[in-house]
């Protein structure tokens, strides 16, 4: 008879979900940056960029899709062992979202002033994806910087030794 493997604790699964989401957000920022750049690119470059965008989109789905489904399924099954919705990574994610919102808001104000003074004449097809790229880029990079330190589980190592 095979032993049943204990399911991954919900809190641990949720942390993995947040990490993957941040990676997904970074890739999405890259995708929007390429979309903005594509507007000013000439020659065969826009065609090549389209392929790159499709590849990034597929990568995002592969990275984030399965774990999102896992989290959704676990929440639906009511066997969650995660009583606390909060944790370090949840708090880190919220801080990252707040920084991204603040940064984007300031950028929007600056852009608004520049557009009013006709200092720039970028079309909406460039401004919108560029802003989205900035917002998602700031959020994901802020999250990664908050979680740079990788620590080990001390006593678990001693017990294994």
């Amino acid at each position: 008879m095979s032993e049943d493997k204990a399911p991954e604790p919900m809190a641990q699964l949720y942390d993995r979900f947040l990490n993957r989401s941040a990676i997904g957000m970074f890739l999405l920022a890259l995708l929007f940056a390429l979309t903005a750049f594509e507007q000013s690119a000439a020659g065969e470059l826009p065609g090549a960029l389209k392929y790159a965008e499709k590849a990034i989109a597929i990568l995002i789905i592969i990275l984030v899709g399965p774990i999102t489904f896992q989290v959704y399924r676990r929440k639906r099954s009511f066997v969650s062992t995660c009583d606390e919705p909060e944790g370090f990574l949840t708090s880190s994610f919220q801080k990252a979202a707040m920084r991204a919102f603040t940064g984007s808001f300031i950028l929007l104000i600056v852009l608004n002033v520049l557009l009013e003074k006709e200092a720039v004449d970028w079309p909406a097809a460039v401004i919108v994806p560029a802003l989205l790229a900035f917002n998602l880029g700031v959020a994901s990079l802020s999250f990664f910087l908050d979680n740079l330190e990788d620590d080990e589980d001390d006593f678990a190592e001693e017990e294994d030794a």
């Binding site: 809190a11 606390e84 990574l89 589980d153 678990a156 017990e159």
Partner: protein, 68 residues
């Protein structure tokens, strides 16, 4: 802002518990425990009380405000 000291590592050692085991016992992730221990993350009252209840001590035995 006042710094929050904690003795989680001491209590874990007494109970021979890893960060992962403590995390599972109170329903949070291991990263949350490790960041609380090093003072990077200030836990909610609920998490603090759960840790205290697990080690069967008053919450003030585990968490205290650092002296200035």
């Amino acid at each position: 802002m006042s710094k929050l000291d904690n003795r989680i590592r001491v209590y874990r050692a007494e109970h021979r518990m890893s960060q992962g085991e403590l995390a599972v016992a109170i329903g949070v992730s291991r990263k949350t425990i490790s960041t609380i221990e090093v003072g990077k993350f200030v836990p909610s009252t609920v998490i603090a009380l759960k840790i205290a209840r697990l080690f069967e001590v008053p919450v003030e035995d585990i968490f205290s405000l650092a002296e200035d």
